[in-house]
């Protein structure tokens, strides 16, 4: 399966630039997820790879071949669309075999391939139904089946799960993960749902406003976000951000804000000072805060609880710290009264610092 390489890929509509020259390499058989808020250009990028959208500048390479001027059918790709795009006048079997029939594949081979894929996706019973007679999840499965029956080297997914209800989405997500392990192909997957991105992707590309903000494994993105945007986008519930200032107390540097104070290691403090002077933003994930009533005054955060959301083993507290709203994940056994003031600590690794102006990680 060829490596896909985007080189200075640009898309503009008239004078409006939508994709600002992105460079990206997708390794062989890698499951790459493009993720970002709506309008960030992830779907446009995918559609350019598919050949459904013209490329304004730059080039797409599949292996060593430049493909940006080629028709979709010459690119050896299969695509699953957000809203299925099944041919309504054909039954499931005909839908899945459309591409093969266009290639004039012998009928025997088509039948074999279709029943093979139908077995993988559990569609055997529906082969003679029309799309209108299927449920949403089944239609989505047919759409994937249509891509799978072709022996394309690259699979493109354009938000394939966004039209399904929550339960079905979870189930299909698991099936997709399973499928990607079994079928060794290049997969490029577009989604706005960071949970999908985290669970499916070998590598995640976070996009914003037509730029790539960060790329890496799910773990890298979660632990070391390169900017406030990425930090806020990846992880659920999202990271808390607090404005703070750096205070130097005879050599010990702390980030201090209304209702909290955290000491920094020397190395970190000097870096922070060098980069952004005194004003910084502190980011703490809800899961990185833990209750610690006996915490040192120089290393704690005081919250007053506004709402407690019980979600099972965990509860999410929505709380106030000075003027800032925060969310905190705690174990549900811990009794919490509304309006109560609680003292939390955070581990040094759980503290993320961002420059106030550029919003880049320090």
């Amino acid at each position: 399966m060829p490596r896909i390489r985007l080189e200075n890929l640009t898309k503009s509509y008239g004078s409006l630039d939508v994709i600002h020259g992105i460079d990206l390499v997708m390794q062989e058989n890698e499951f790459t997820v493009l993720v970002g808020p709506s309008g960030c250009g992830k779907s446009t990028t995918l559609r350019m790879i598919a050949g459904l959208e013209s490329v304004s500048a730059g080039e797409i390479y599949m292996g060593e071949k430049a493909v940006s001027k080629l028709e979709p059918k010459e690119r050896d790709i299969a695509m699953v669309f957000q809203d299925y795009a099944l041919y309504p006048h054909m039954n499931v079997a005909k839908n899945m075999s459309f591409a093969l029939r266009l290639q004039k594949t012998p009928k025997k081979e088509i039948d074999k391939k279709v029943s093979e894929v139908a077995a993988i996706l559990g569609l055997e019973r529906f082969l003679h139904r029309k799309p209108a007679e299927l449920s949403g999840g089944q239609r989505q499965r047919v759409a994937m089946g249509r891509a799978l029956t072709r022996d394309a080297s690259t699979f493109l997914f354009d938000e394939p799960l966004s039209n399904l209800d929550a339960k079905l989405r979870g189930q299909m997500r698991a099936e997709l993960a399973l499928m990607s392990q079994r079928v060794k192909k290049n997969m490029v997957y577009v989604t706005h749902d960071q949970v999908e991105a985290m669970t499916l992707g070998d590598r995640i590309i976070v996009m914003q406003d037509g730029h790539i903000r960060q790329q890496g494994t799910p773990e890298e993105l979660f632990k070391h976000p390169s900017s406030k945007f990425v930090a806020g986008f990846i992880g659920s519930p999202p990271m808390n951000f607090l404005s703070a200032t750096l205070q130097d107390n005879s050599g010990i540097v702390s980030v201090v804000g209304e209702g909290f104070c955290f000491q920094l290691s020397e190395q970190r403090a000097s870096r922070a000072k060098k980069i952004s002077g005194n004003d910084v933003i502190v980011g703490i994930r809800p899961s990185d805060l833990y209750l610690n009533p006996s915490a040192d005054v120089a290393n704690q955060l005081t919250l007053s609880v506004l709402v407690s959301e019980y979600i099972g083993a965990q509860s999410i507290l929505h709380a106030q710290c000075g003027d800032n709203h925060l969310s905190v994940e705690i174990k549900s056994e811990q009794p919490v009264a509304l309006g109560e003031s609680l003292i939390f600590s955070a581990s040094p690794e759980g503290l993320h610092l961002f420059d106030k102006k550029t919003e880049l990680a320090i």
Binding site: F81, P88, A99, Q103, A132, N163
Partner: protein, 297 residues
């Protein structure tokens, strides 16, 4: 309570009278046509003209004499006009329907899917062509078809292709207009999916778009066929005695010496059959929800 229910159930007698009047107005001419076609001239002209008569197929035999497999005894001279006219009508109506649909779908598809300068204007103004009454076209078309559209000795006037050309031009704007609204409803994702699946533009059009706009094609076909079949004004001006269609033939058989009502009505009855069959077949294709299940449910 039940009183009120009763009064709403039992409508005003005037309502029924109106319905009956409308039915008589709608069916009366048809009943008259069919019954007259089954009468001999003696019964038609007789003083005791009534619904009581001995039905006969003699008029139909006269009309179809050269098409029938046997020679009707009563027909002394077999006039081939009517049989020929029926054939002409069929050829002209079917040909203009087919050509209009082929050109119409392609034009409508281009107007909906392709971006080019003046697209909106073309889309809007194409329907304006339809606003010109055929009677206005009559004289210029006759002139041009007789003197300008000539290949060697033969001119467009009096030929099948000449009249088909007029009908296609006349019906095309409306057909394009109807089909545009059907093509707009075909989700663009389907075409994209087909392109990714390896279809070339023609395969996308014929294998994906065309099957989905079948209802539109049927509606357009009924419309075009009916107009081409019934048209009189232009057909009367342009066609010669060998290519004449049925409506023209019927009118031409009203002469100052003799009006054979029975034969005329028999021709009329026969004239009504093909459009009925055509509409019946085509309307089976008009089902809603063709694109159901294509995209997100």
């Amino acid at each position: 309570m039940s009183q009120a229910a009763l009064t709403t159930e039992r409508r005003n007698p005037a309502f029924y009278a109106l319905v009956v009047a409308l039915i008589v107005m709608a069916l009366g001419p048809i009943v008259m046509m069919i019954s007259t076609s089954l009468k001999l001239n003696v019964d038609v002209m007789g003083e005791t003209s009534s619904l009581l008569f001995m039905p006969t197929v003699a008029n139909y035999e006269t009309v179809l004499c050269d098409v029938l497999w046997y020679t009707p005894e009563r027909v002394e001279y077999c006039d081939p006009t009517f049989g020929r006219a029926l054939g002409n009508s069929l050829i002209i109506a079917l040909a203009s329907t087919a050509i209009t649909l082929i050109i119409g779908t392609m034009a409508a598809y281009a107007l909906v899917r392709f971006r080019f300068m003046g697209r909106g204007t073309v889309s809007m103004t194409s329907l304006m062509m339809r606003m010109v009454p055929p009677a206005v076209l009559l004289v210029p078309v006759f002139g041009i078809w007789t003197f300008d559209f000539c290949v060697g000795e033969s001119c467009a006037a009096g030929t099948y292709w000449g009249i088909v050309l007029v009908y296609v031009a006349m019906n095309l704007p409306f057909v394009i207009w109807i089909l545009q609204s059907f093509i707009v409803q075909v989700p663009i994702q389907l075409e994209e999916a087909a392109r990714v699946d390896g279809a070339n533009p023609f395969q996308v059009f014929f294998l994906v778009v065309l099957p989905l706009i079948k209802p539109g094609l049927a509606a357009a076909a009924i419309f075009t066929f009916r107009i081409a079949w019934n048209e009189f004004l232009l057909a009367n001006a342009l066609l010669d005695r060998n290519t004449r269609t049925v409506p023209v033939t019927i009118v031409n058989s009203l002469t100052e010496y003799d009006i054979d009502w029975g034969v005329i009505m028999a021709t009329g009855s026969l004239l009504a059959i093909p459009p009925i069959i055509f509409t019946f077949v085509a309307s089976k294709q008009i089902i809603t929800g063709m694109t159901a299940g294509a995209v997100k449910g």
